[in-house]
Amino acid sequence: MNFNIEINNKTVEAVQGETILDTLKRNGVKVPTLCHLKGMLPTGACRICIVENETTGKLIPSCSQPVETGMKILTHSPRVNESRKTIIELLLSNHPDDCLYCVRNKNCELQDLAETYQVRERRIRGKKNKHHLDLSGTSIVRDPAKCILCERCVRVCDEVMGVSAIEILYRGSNSVVGTAFNKGLNTSSCINCGQCIMVCPTGALSEKSHFPELIEALKDKKKKVVVQYAPSITVSLAEEFNMKPGEDINGLLNAALRKIGFDNVFDTTFTADLTIMEESAELIQRITENKNLPLITSCCPGWVKYAEEFADDFIPNISSCKSPQQMMGAVIKSYFAQQINTKPEEIYSVSIMPCTAKKFEMQRVEMNRNGINDVDAVLTTREISKLFKLFGIDIKSLEPETADSPMGIRSTAGKLFANTGGVMEAALRTAHFKLTGKELVNFKIPQVRGLDGIKEAKMTIAGIEVGVAVVSGLANAQKLLQEIRNGRKDLHFIEIMACPGGCISGGGQPINSDESILRSRIKAIYAIDHRESIKVSHKNPEIIEIYQNFLEKPLSHKSHELLHTHYEKRDVLK
């Protein structure tokens, strides 16, 4: 049912049941929000979205108050503006004054609000809580002193990821976001996905930087510093340099990385192709032997840790393939090291990832052979943009370059890894060819594309009806896994990505990625797939070469030694 209400003396149509904020948004009226998270139930915790209802004379939070007939809303009356300013001043009253030193300087919602409402002095002085930095995690740093208790991180961790590693502890002025027993993040069930960082309005959550180690390595003349970048980076990095969201700057990225001083630049998409070769072989093997089905992907380190903690009954189902990052690390320090006659320990291997969990993955004990790590440092998309700025690189002025061989050529199938459903689509393209000897008509599998949390498809390949599912957002994974526990048997292959939407919305991507930005990144990836000619991993000439010269065949002894791993049940506070 629709009815009219008045907003700023203008009559507009409101829909029964929606909140005032919904109506305002639809009519293009902007009010500030802090605790509000799109698509989730309102909490009304921060009150910054208050508006004045002239009919009742009351100030009401627009995010949680439903519209009512006869409402006369003022969104920016002097009273509203003053109240909002007071709320900001109260938030600032116990906030550290160290913006200049803060990781979120110039990219902070609290700072922006203080600027918009022209807070120019500290009118209210509050007792500052003494909170310790939590540096215990491998990927995420928590600084509760900067927290404004909007609870967005708590809700994302619980409702989207189904992890609940963090919660509001204590009460009133002592409230703080913390883990179980307020111990370090490393004791909690945190899966390092970094979605909490993506929703944090301030600098209370940030990634653990690998900057200092990298700078040291670049200074070291004896070290060969090589770099790899994930498929999704090339379509998200542009935003950090004020270019159009979704612009593919692959060539510029290669050039910029060389300018910084990386000796070799490789494209992780190459090992995404390699993953597809190994994983599709694994899929065919399991379907033929009817063993450990459904096969579940292992590229996402957030999902893998989640499984080890919450779904260890599915560990036998998870593909033994290392993730593309770790495969690249492993082949750099073996295949590539051999080619350039360098000892693996003299190579410093860096990866640029859309992901904070990759910082955890590289430190897993399984990712270390004879005391040598596959990967030595992981930078997020945000960190690499800072590195370019630090080195004074004007990325737009560079000439595009290509990545280095023998791990520089990629198929567009590997590129699809950036999007939810991409691993599935790439794997099915290759599995189809291996099983039937023919390429998939059109190559496209539209059912696994798009931003839905759970997508399913049925395909008949070589007479076998293959059931597949694609899940992103681990709360969705929980649902699907429960269905399988309850006896569902029609699925052969499941792709699980921790972050909703896959790597294009990973916890290491630029902050403030709204849905339209995500869609442009997704579109860019599919455009590459549409445009280019090598659309399947098994046709990548460098993949064919690495098997001929080094790995022999998928699932060979050498592959197992370098490209495969195992998982173990984890005991954490959960």
């Binding site: 609940s164 963090i166 919660e167 509001i168 502890l169 179980a180 506070l573």
Partner: protein
């Protein structure tokens, strides 16, 4: 070992996966154990299918829950209005100084624990403290020392 079994017996009384029972269960545990141990909270989480971070969040929200065992002598300091007017804040400071612990904790030798309460309901005796169930009326910073000494020598 006894303690562990005890936790299990208490938890088993409550139906599985029913979150509304969280607070009654925590109260029951505290009544029998004297405090909420990490081990107990982890077990409660498993039983009720509630993340342990949420349980800790609930438990720390309420003043009634304690996270370490009380001492042999549990001291309650009244910080109600009447006691406050007659100087209970200096009494509390003196107690913390004498016992070398902060309010809400237990001394290392497990002899004393200190708790701040809103009102004991004995305003005529203000400022008042209770040690286990014995009330000490009209205490002062000076008399606190003697009271503590008397318990140490008991």
């Amino acid at each position: 070992m006894d303690l562990i079994q005890n936790i299990d017996t208490i938890i088993e009384k409550y139906p599985k996966s029913e979150r509304p029972n969280l607070i009654p269960l925590l109260q029951d545990l505290q009544e029998h154990q004297g405090f909420l141990s990490e081990e107990a909270m982890v077990k409660v989480g498993k039983h009720l299918a509630v993340p342990v971070s949420n349980i800790y969040g609930v438990a720390t929200f309420y003043n009634q829950f304690k996270f370490e065992p009380s001492g042999k002598y549990h001291i309650k300091v009244c910080r109600g209005t009447a006691c406050h007017v007659l100087g209970s804040s200096t009494v509390l400071v003196e107690l913390e100084k004498q016992l070398k612990i902060k309010a809400g904790s237990t001394s290392r030798d497990k002899m004393f624990s200190l708790e701040v309460v809103a009102c004991i309901g004995a305003c005529g005796l203000a400022p008042v403290i209770s040690v286990n169930d014995t009330f000490h009326a009209k205490v002062s910073a000076a008399s606190i020392k003697e009271i503590i000494e008397s318990y140490k020598n008991m």
